[in-house]
Assembly symmetry: C2
Homo-oligomer: 380 residues x 2
Amino acid sequence: MFPEAESVAPAMTAVLTTVLTEGPLSRVALARRLGLSQAAVTKAARPLIEQGYLQELAATERSGPGAGRPASPLAICADREFFVGVKITADELIGVVCDLGAQVRASAHRPLPHTDVDHVLTELGHLVDELLDGPGDYRARTRRLGLAVSGDVDRATGLVRYSPFLHWHDVPLQDLAEKNTSLTVTVENDVKALTTAEHWFGEGVGAESFALVTVGSGIGCGLVVNGRLVSGAHGVAGEIGHVGVDVNGPACHCGGRGCVEAIAGTDAIVRAVGRPGLTFEEAVTLARAGDTAVGAVFARAGDAIGSGIAAVANLVGPSRIVVSGEGLSAYDLFEPHIRAGFQRQAFGAVAQCPLSVRPLPFEQWARGAATVSIQAFVAA
Amino acid sequence: MFPEAESVAPAMTAVLTTVLTEGPLSRVALARRLGLSQAAVTKAARPLIEQGYLQELAATERSGPGAGRPASPLAICADREFFVGVKITADELIGVVCDLGAQVRASAHRPLPHTDVDHVLTELGHLVDELLDGPGDYRARTRRLGLAVSGDVDRATGLVRYSPFLHWHDVPLQDLAEKNTSLTVTVENDVKALTTAEHWFGEGVGAESFALVTVGSGIGCGLVVNGRLVSGAHGVAGEIGHVGVDVNGPACHCGGRGCVEAIAGTDAIVRAVGRPGLTFEEAVTLARAGDTAVGAVFARAGDAIGSGIAAVANLVGPSRIVVSGEGLSAYDLFEPHIRAGFQRQAFGAVAQCPLSVRPLPFEQWARGAATVSIQAFVAA
DNA sequence: GTCAATACTTGACTCGGGAAAGTAATGGGG
DNA sequence: CCCCATTACTTTCCCGAGTCAAGTATTGAC
């Protein structure tokens, strides 16, 4: 959290994290929330205020019976520090500058003609410079960069073990990017980064367990269980796209059969429509225009996604689920069938789990990357 | 851990837990394993030795280059304290006495003509008396009882929210049993209890994430993720039995379609065989005798289970999976198809996840209950 | 103005754990 | 055989996070 300090009192991290994610809170409320004494919160908050991370808000409305000294809630000074987040896709870099409260303050992107590591690093450098030296003068108050990459990523070491889309194997992205940008870099899998963002700053706030499902050419899932992100022992987790929901379904490129992705991925949908040369967007248009055959393909796809989500819900029992992602441009076509498939396969009380179906703009992926660097900052 | 103490130094719990689950370890090894200083381990171990929970073993083989003082490993005094575990099924109580090391020292059972709460408590009292006052003289060194019940159980309060098999709603089982037995009681869901036992004392030892699948009339799953048991926000988790693996499969009593349980539960198998009056055991005999039609039913069932397990593995990426349970009396018929279904649907590196298929005797469920009370004891 | 109620601060204390130096027990080299 | 390096454990002293209890601050109700 502070450039010099080795490690920081747990209470300070806890206070900062809670104010960050759960908004302005009085010291008393924080103490109750964190199971600490009021004294401990006072002591933890003081240095945070002195260093400009927290501020004391004017007393607002009263809480209880109406008597007593009003609380002075602690709020984040969002301007105290800025964070860059960049999502690296196969053909583009998407970058944002976020403040400490994870609000997007600036964004930019650069095309990526190819995914050579060196080339990506060069372009990344340009993108970061563009973001930090553009209007807003963020450079002076920015020390961290978060990168989101699809594939198998070790966040602890910043190593990209394997990224099929980028054709990368064992790229020490954190080290390389730190040399290239002179920022402290954190690297995370893209879906996990997005999940983190929703967990800290979105619909997952306060949820002990939480799932985020992304629908697109691939179908992915980020999971938070017992308050912690699920990483998977083999570097693999959240592969909802390869949960089999139909033993007699189409073969999947992964070797499985009837995988959600083999039924509901954009490519799979195009294939299932079976009209040569037709693009996904054209299929969407046809379905919206009332083409029943194409509509049935979308119905089956939505149902498969719903089934897959129910599998997640039955297994880990999250308290909230958010469905999102690129492919949800067509989300009006999917949503009712996602919900129907989910309701049918959700067991018992799981069916009551709130399910938000909501497209997230692409920029959100970059915000996820920034969020991961905010986490790294707070925990440091 | 100690009758008087309110809470105990974290290091003491950590040391005791680690020795309990990972066997005799020297103080140095414990310090490394737990990230503590050697001094801290020495201090934590002393009272544990004084109170008879740990003992110092004679130095055995050397580790490193061959010089230096030999280590004196710390081991559990398994006889220091005993624990009763009882699994409550719809027609029987199965009880065991375990030592501190979770070894079964005595066992007994009582039929349960009906599942009235009062009746169950009376029988439970008799069973506990039989176990503690029988040979072995465990009574004096036994203070805790663990109960395992199927259904929705709140371990923290010992409330059985809903148990379909027992027809119980909101039974404060912990309170009732404590009055009845004058032991400190812990209540847990049966599958979670069994999972806990495997996690602390079985194949799941040392695994950060771990799954246990039980196959029988129902099909259940216990999950450990990031070292912690998954409980589910709605009191539901691990419902692998209701993961849908075949959209065109048979309807399930839960309202879903093609649920694993609707294909591979014992009732479902009997139904799929479709010969009036035939029992599950008879179906097993037929299949073993080479009846291809019946064999195909078992093959389909095993495949469905394997698919369901792959769903678990793809989603949470456990480092080990154990398949077990009552129905696995027929496990020779299931196993190859479980493995085949798993391998087909497991994504990427997940397919390398070690999968043990292994019948656990019924007594193990009671041992699971005892394990939960050992955990409660250690954490106290 | 007093009183109760609530929020926050202060200072003394407790206690868990770390650092470093000391003791114990071994094998190997002179 | 005696040192010495090596490893295991113990002791002492200290620090610092967090609690407790008492005190201050700020409000509304009477």
